[in-house]
């Protein structure tokens, strides 16, 4: 009995310490989860009274939870649609944080060089119109590679994901056929191909299926050293995805006031065309003012000191002008 009391006595101050902490809850996209958890733990180290709890439940669930007010902030790889904003009771500000890119990866027997893809070739393959690697359109873009007579197998993501959203958003922009049949979404009705679960599923299928082509996140390709092809951008140059060319994609576009912008098929000369922002969804008039203030400071910190940590984790940081604009918006709009 005495011992139990003593233990209680020791735990008591700890409990008080925990209670003095404020916990901010967030939920949403899984793509930026590694960088967010790095930011939030770093921020906690500097401000020990603030604990941020982020659950990577997916963009769709993130949007739903922030609309329902069950979390303090959300995160999404795709911007909320106009209908979602209209139906939402909670007004949110889209704050771009980092950039991601999606790259075409392939497994062509006998081809080791880097394959160049034009928008027409990519959309043709994914629409099922180009079915063999020896197709003239592919050879034309790659004069120095000899392609085998091998059927193409398309591999796409089977799980709904921001990666698919970026990919289909790009295909919709470069091909009206694609826009009219499949369209853009986190999951679409794919005209051809097989689906793998997650980046690892798609990469695994590409590796084990000769003649296959699919798309994966740039970060996943970089970290796992998976070779990928370059894509011809709007200004006509073949650009290989990298952190620099991804950041460059955000420089060439006009930024609207609400930050909901698609930067695929960006006009910049060095821009990689299949890139996108990922956003934090911050309620503009939070019910808990104290929490709202803490969250505001956290977001400002992420856009300021946080951006410097991005490239270490293979995320492309925002261009400076976008980060500045986002900071101004947070300061003005979040009350």
């Amino acid at each position: 009995m005495k011992r139990a009391l003593r233990v209680l006595f020791c735990i008591f101050p700890l409990a008080i310490g925990v209670m003095a902490q404020t916990t901010l809850n967030g939920a949403g996209a899984s793509f930026p989860y590694p960088i967010y958890s790095k930011w939030f733990s770093e921020y906690h180290n500097q401000h020990s009274d603030i604990q941020v709890n982020y659950q990577s439940v997916g963009s769709g669930a993130g949007i739903r939870q922030v609309q329902a007010g069950t979390v303090d902030f959300g995160a999404s790889d795709g911007p909320m649609t106009d209908e979602q904003i209209a139906s939402s009771k909670v007004k949110v500000l889209h704050v771009p944080t980092v950039l991601g890119a999606v790259v075409p990866a392939y497994n062509i027997p006998g081809v080791s060089g880097e394959v160049k893809f034009t928008p027409d070739v990519l959309s043709g393959i994914f629409l099922g119109k180009i079915t063999n690697w020896n197709d003239g359109a592919i050879a034309k873009a790659n004069p120095d590679i000899k392609f085998p007579n091998q059927n193409i197998t398309v591999v796409h993501r089977s799980d709904g994901s921001g990666t698919s959203y970026i990919w289909t958003d790009y295909l919709s922009k470069v091909s009206s056929d694609w826009a009219n049949t499949a369209g853009k979404s986190t999951s679409v009705k794919w005209p051809v191909g097989v689906g793998g679960k997650g980046n690892e599923g798609v990469a695994g299928m590409i590796r084990s299926l000769p003649g296959s082509v699919g798309y994966i996140e740039l970060i996943y390709a970089l970290q796992n050293k998976i070779p990928y092809g370059s894509v011809k951008n709007k200004s006509g140059t073949f650009v290989k995805a990298s952190l620099e060319s991804t950041t460059a994609a955000a420089q060439g576009v006009k930024m609207p006031a609400d930050f909901r912008v698609s930067i695929t098929d960006s006009p910049g000369k060095t821009a990689y065309p299949i890139a996108s922002f990922t956003w934090l969804l911050i309620p503009t008039s939070p019910s808990d003012k104290n929490k709202g203030n803490l969250l505001k400071n956290l977001v400002l910190w992420c856009l300021d000191s946080g951006e410097g940590m991005a490239s270490n984790l293979s995320y492309a940081p925002l261009p400076k002008e976008v980060a500045d604009k986002a900071k101004d918006a947070v300061k003005q709009q979040v009350k």
Binding site: V57, G58, S59, G60, A61, I63, R64, T81, Q84, N151, T153, S158, D159, G160, S161, G162, A182, G183, K184, S185, T186, S187, V188, K189, W190, G193, V194, G195, G196, K197, G201, G204, M205, R207, S208, L209
Partner: protein, 359 residues
């Protein structure tokens, strides 16, 4: 269900026997009464020796057991109600055509569940086709023919299969099984059984066939360990009796063991089927996830559990979410129907009797 006809069978012959008894009551009373009286008095005596308060725990215990029994029922009702409630939107929009619609297009908000229902049923059936003979074989070998020292080793290995997480099966499926199917098994099947139409078209490796094989490996431990238990429960005297009649070992196993254990075996198969119908992760990784109905087992397919796991987290529109929940409802109904059919099958095999070794 097997219990319901059970009390009837002893009662049937008893009733006509009792009628003539009324004519000579004294005899009947002499034969039956004393037993009842004795048992009553023993009960009475036990009750008297115990303090009155000890009956309360007894009642509490009975109540608790009753509650646990009811809770299963409540959970099922609650799940069903929740599924119907959350899928209202899609139920109103598509009605029953949802269950035979073939289109699944989240961009244009068109949803139909047939490819998923088909994929679930075919992949589970395929898994059972492969797993049932194998697991019964394993169980018979372990109980009847295996050297005693090997027994625990084989049982352990089979049960080890059950302990492997399904994501590991999935990864193994992508990297080991799919290439094997593409390089060896697929071409072989196309050559020998291609005429059936079940094995035609391009062989990706991943697809319905790979999903069926992966699932069969996952259900083997369930079916075989239950079958093993049931076979061990068959009394030794049965085996000896059949052997004494001059049966060979195979005849003994067929007539003396398997025949007695068939209901237990079917029970194990039903449990395995349940696992196969609901299996998500491993199947999602190897089935190819394509919402199409194709006769060929080489073609990629899609199951109900997979589409929910794949699309629920990123689904945004209300109708989309509602349609996914309705897929859950469809899975619930399919499981219910398949289980009911399996029970009917058991019933028709046994004609309502329960088997000896229905352990």
């Amino acid at each position: 269900m097997p219990e319901s006809p059970n009390p009837k069978s002893p009662a049937d012959p008893a009733e006509p026997a009792q009628k003539p008894v009324t004519a000579i009551p004294t005899l009947a009373q002499a034969a039956t009464r004393p037993k009842v009286v004795v048992s009553k008095s023993i009960l009475e005596r036990i009750r008297q020796t115990r303090p009155r308060s000890s009956r309360i725990p007894d009642k509490v215990f009975a109540l608790l057991i009753l509650l646990t029994g009811i809770s299963v029922f409540m959970i099922v009702v609650f799940v069903a109600w929740e599924l119907v409630d959350k899928s209202k939107l899609s139920l109103h929009q598509f009605g029953f055509s949802f269950f035979w619609g073939r289109d699944w297009d989240p961009v244009n908000d068109q949803y139909g569940a047939l490819p998923f229902i088909y994929g679930t049923l075919v992949s589970s059936l395929l898994a059972l086709l492969i797993a049932v003979p194998l697991s019964i074989g394993v169980a018979v070998f372990v109980t009847e023919m295996c050297p005693i020292r090997l027994r625990p080793i084989i049982s352990f290995l089979v049960e080890l299969l059950a302990a492997i997480p399904s994501v590991i099966y999935g990864l193994w499926g992508i990297f080991v099984l799919a290439p094997l199917v593409r390089e060896y098994l697929g071409p072989f099947l196309a050559k020998t059984l291609g005429w059936t139409g079940l094995f035609s078209g391009p062989i990706y490796g991943i697809g319905m066939l790979a999903a069926g094989i992966i699932m069969s490996i996952m259900v083997i431990p369930i079916i075989s360990s239950i079958t093993r238990e049931v076979l061990t429960a068959v009394p030794q005297s049965q085996r000896e009796a059949v052997l004494a009649l001059g049966a060979t070992r195979w005849e003994m196993i067929r007539m003396g063991v398997l025949r007695n254990a068939r209901i237990g075996i079917v029970g194990g198969v039903i449990l395995g089927l349940g696992r196969a119908l609901g299996e998500t992760m491993a199947v999602t990784m190897v089935i190819g996830n394509r919402a199409e109905i194709s006769k060929s087992l080489f073609a990629p397919g899609y199951t109900m559990a997979s589409v929910i796991a794949n699309e629920f987290t990123e689904a945004t529109g209300d109708l989309y979410l509602s349609a996914l929940v309705e897929i859950g409802l469809a899975l619930f109904l399919v499981t219910l129907i398949v289980n009911a059919l399996a029970r009917l099958l058991v019933w028709s095999i046994t004609g309502g009797r329960t088997g000896r070794a229905n352990a």
